[in-house]
């Protein structure tokens, strides 16, 4: 469709990857705000983090689409297979708090690395926006670290965290997958860290986060690259639009109202 033709440059693909990650993570957290946190404070935290992610997504989509109407079309009228959401961002088990917390931390580490790559070499708007993401997601990272610390205090909690880690860690290799990562930071004025280099940085940072909580990393950066290959062989590659059935269902549900009447307006 027309939106796809318009996003073919490395720069636009990179921004769309970023936007599609933030949109899905924001939607997931928003969908459980209010009836999920163990206390009022946690519900405020979930709602705030959801707003941050959705705000980033709105800004990134707006970067690609000049009017609010075009942003709506980009978000609501693309098929799930046109979404470039990474497997890590798309992973979601809302009934499993350890999973939500581990995912929150692993995603924050990946998101901060992406923003740092843009910040370090970029200039102008990309650099300024990266600064916004660095400011916001650093708070999220602290929050999920605190939760993992709490969960790690009991044997049951530790086992649940380890379980979630086994599932989530291998997905992170794909986050840095694809040509967008090689070419786009250069297109928006940044350096071009290779996918291997970014996986190395991520494994080191997430591993150190886990280490301070007394948890072991399931694999190193080479292991992550292998896992990304294995997932691709199983037909899963978020950056190519090959998503889990759960994410496809979530996107279909999120877009159903708009699709039923694209002229609909809230309020």
């Amino acid at each position: 469709m027309a939106t796809q033709a318009a996003v073919a440059t490395p720069e636009r693909t990179f921004i769309l990857d970023w936007a599609d990650d933030a949109y899905v993570v924001g939607h997931q957290l928003a969908s459980v705000t209010g009836h999920y946190g163990p206390d009022l404070e946690e519900n405020l935290a979930l709602g705030s983090m959801a707003q941050d992610h959705l705000g980033h997504a709105r800004a990134l989509y707006r970067w690609l689409a000049p009017t609010d109407e075009q942003v709506d079309r980009l978000v609501f009228l693309r098929e799930p297979s046109e979404y470039r959401t990474s497997l890590l961002a798309g992973a979601w088990e809302p009934g499993n708090w350890a999973f939500v917390a581990v995912k929150g931390l692993l995603y924050a580490d990946a998101e901060l690395l992406r923003a740092e790559a843009v910040w370090q070499g970029g200039r102008g708007t990309p650099r300024e926006f990266a600064e916004v993401v660095l400011r916001d997601d650093a708070v999220h990272r602290d929050h999920w670290r605190q939760w993992l610390g709490l969960l790690g205090r009991s044997a049951d909690g530790t086992a649940r965290v380890a379980d979630a880690l086994r599932h989530l860690w291998p997905l992170a290799g794909e986050f840095f997958h694809g040509s967008a990562w090689r070419e786009a930071p250069a297109a928006i004025g940044g350096p071009t860290p290779t996918a291997d280099e970014l996986r190395r940085r991520w494994a080191e940072r997430a591993g150190s986060d886990l280490g301070t909580l007394g948890l072991d990393s399931p694999s190193d950066a080479d292991g992550l690259a292998l896992e990304a290959d294995r997932l691709a062989e199983r037909g899963l590659c978020g950056r190519l639009g090959r998503h889990s059935p759960e994410l496809v269902r979530m996107l279909d549900e999120a877009h159903a109202i708009f699709k039923s009447d694209p002229s609909v307006r809230w309020g």
């Binding site: 709602g47 941050d52 600064e131």
Partner: protein, 176 residues
């Protein structure tokens, strides 16, 4: 740079913008530090550039409408509000008058004197800096919750950038 739209000067525009209140804080948008620039577009349209305190702020649309409608009262028929993607807002942008207004409403923010306090916040009720952060997430995206150990009150503060961005800012810039 804009000189005037009809009889309306740049100064008139800034004065009018100063009267536009933030919908979620008892403070004007100029005092809040979110007005970046006022300029004249090529087509004779007045362009107001704003930066959001936080990109997910639900009040952006309301602020846009308030600005447009206030400028219309001033006689500017063709105005556009552009929300910029950055730079990251921080409470240091709040004016001294704005900080005083917030304090009156039990909210602390951008107070340079409070940097000495471990939590970074001074209690708006008893002025003590013996405070602690109770939660990093407050009733709105731009605020966090503090507790005063001295007068035992709970109060809100404007969210400040975390450690990581401060470290990042200390690193050399690639474009310098």
């Amino acid at each position: 740079m804009m000189d005037a739209v009809g009889a309306v000067t740049q100064q008139d525009v800034w004065r009018a913008l100063a009267e536009v209140e933030d919908p979620e804080l008892p403070i004007g948008i100029v005092d809040l530090g979110i007005v970046e620039a006022v300029s004249m577009g090529a087509n004779g349209r007045l362009v107001v550039e704003l930066i959001p305190t936080f990109s997910g702020c639900p009040a952006l649309e309301v602020i846009r409408e308030r600005v447009i409608s206030r400028l219309r009262e001033l006689g500017v028929a063709d105005a556009e509000v552009r929300w910029k993607l950055g730079p990251a807002w921080d409470p240091g942008r709040i004016s001294a008058a704005g900080r005083a207004q917030l304090r009156e409403h039990g909210i602390t923010g951008g107070d340079p004197a409070a940097a000495a306090a471990r939590s970074g916040a001074r209690c708006p009720f008893c002025d003590s800096d013996d405070t602690e952060r109770a939660s990093g997430f407050g009733p709105a995206l731009c605020r966090v919750v503090y507790r005063c150990r001295c007068c035992r009150n709970v109060f809100e503060g404007m969210k400040r950038p975390g450690t990581l961005i401060r470290l990042a800012n200390a690193a050399p810039r690639a474009d310098q």
